[in-house]
């Protein structure tokens, strides 16, 4: 990671809703969602608020629900209902053991991936 504030909403030089950004997000978003559940269950709105803090990951909120649904069907996440003080009971998402394993694998692979891409992209460094 660079020393930029990852929560910077100012936006980088490129828009976060272009085709390239969308393509990039496709591969990593589900692992970011798994990572956000690492420290405990979160309900949908909470998860989305957390994700929304990162400009590069932000996507229209509604598109996360199909993703969450797939994670649940794939056995990587689970849901349960919990009463809330301020309104209707909420559906919480939580990591399963399989989800934790998938996240661990991604966490192991990611640094090498990031370094490789940075390396290839850096001017004059391509072999």
């Amino acid at each position: 990671m660079t020393d930029h504030d990852p929560t910077d909403k100012g936006g980088g030089p490129a828009p976060a809703d272009g085709a390239i950004a969308t393509q990039l997000r496709k591969g990593v978003l589900e692992y970011c969602v798994l990572a956000l559940l690492r420290d405990g269950p979160r309900y949908g709105v909470e998860l989305l608020q957390e994700l929304g803090r990162f400009h590069a990951l932000a996507t229209s909120q509604g598109t996360i629900y199909p993703l969450l649904s797939r994670l649940r069907r794939a056995g990587l996440a689970d849901t349960f209902l919990r009463d809330s003080a301020s309104g209707p009971s909420r559906r919480y998402y939580t990591l399963t053991a399989e989800g934790r394993a998938a996240l661990a694998e991604f966490t192991t692979l990611w640094p090498a991936f990031r370094v490789a891409v940075d390396h290839v992209l850096a001017p004059g460094e391509t072999p």
């Binding site: 309900y43 949908g44 709105v45 989305l48 996507t59 229209s60 909120q61 509604g62 598109t63 629900y65 199909p66 993703l67 969450l68 649904s69 797939r70 809330s84 301020s86 309104g87 209707p88 909420r90 559906r91």
Partner: protein, 194 residues
């Protein structure tokens, strides 16, 4: 419940319309998730007035994009619209077999050719989801069952198989194919204007 708010209804209806290819359970779950999100997001704000509803829906994003994301997650190809001309030809060919039967001598052959071409075009078209195609094909093929049954009924009834009865049977047999044609045309037009 916020889901009774007209703006919320319209939003969920749009998502529902554009997720027809999804398995029913996926679709129900998606709509329930979205409704729950809206309720829960509104409960987190102070007032559930029109402005708050608009803001929550705005943050959820374009309902078409949400629907497309759901189709993509489920591995369903996104439906692509076809031109009104192509759609009309497909629907017209599907309606032709019954009238063509009235053509002397060549009738059955022409009817078979039209039916075959229509089914092929229907099946290959990217603009209708598979369940809709199957339903339409069954409706188009319904005269194969409806006509013999009506003919038998008329023959056994005191009316007998009079020319009027034959005409009535033909018209009745035409009802389901016409219904299918109207529905296909409508959903195709909706996809084009969406």
């Amino acid at each position: 419940m916020s889901t009774t708010h007209p703006l919320v209804r319209a939003y969920l209806d749009t998502v529902e319309r554009h997720t027809a290819p999804l398995p029913a359970e996926h679709r129900r779950e998606l709509l329930a998730d979205l409704a729950e999100h809206i309720d829960s997001a509104l409960a987190d704000t102070d007032a559930a007035d029109e402005t708050a509803v608009r803001l929550v829906l705005d943050q959820l994003g374009d309902p078409r994009r949400v629907a497309d994301a759901a189709l993509a997650e489920a591995g369903q190809p996104l439906p692509e619209p076809e031109s009104p001309g192509r759609t009309r030809l497909t629907v017209l060919l599907a309606l032709l077999p019954l009238p063509l039967l009235a053509v002397p001598a060549l009738g059955p052959l022409l009817a078979l050719a039209a039916a075959g071409t229509a089914l092929w075009r229907l099946w290959k078209s990217p603009q209708w989801p598979r369940p809709e195609k199957i339903r339409a094909a069954l409706f188009f093929a319904s005269p194969l069952v409806v006509l013999p049954v009506l003919a038998a009924a008329f023959t056994l009834s005191p009316v007998g198989l009079t020319p009027t009865a034959v005409l009535a049977a033909f018209l009745a047999g035409f009802a389901l194919p016409v219904l299918a044609a109207v529905r296909l045309t409508r959903s195709a037009a909706r996809l084009r204007t969406a």
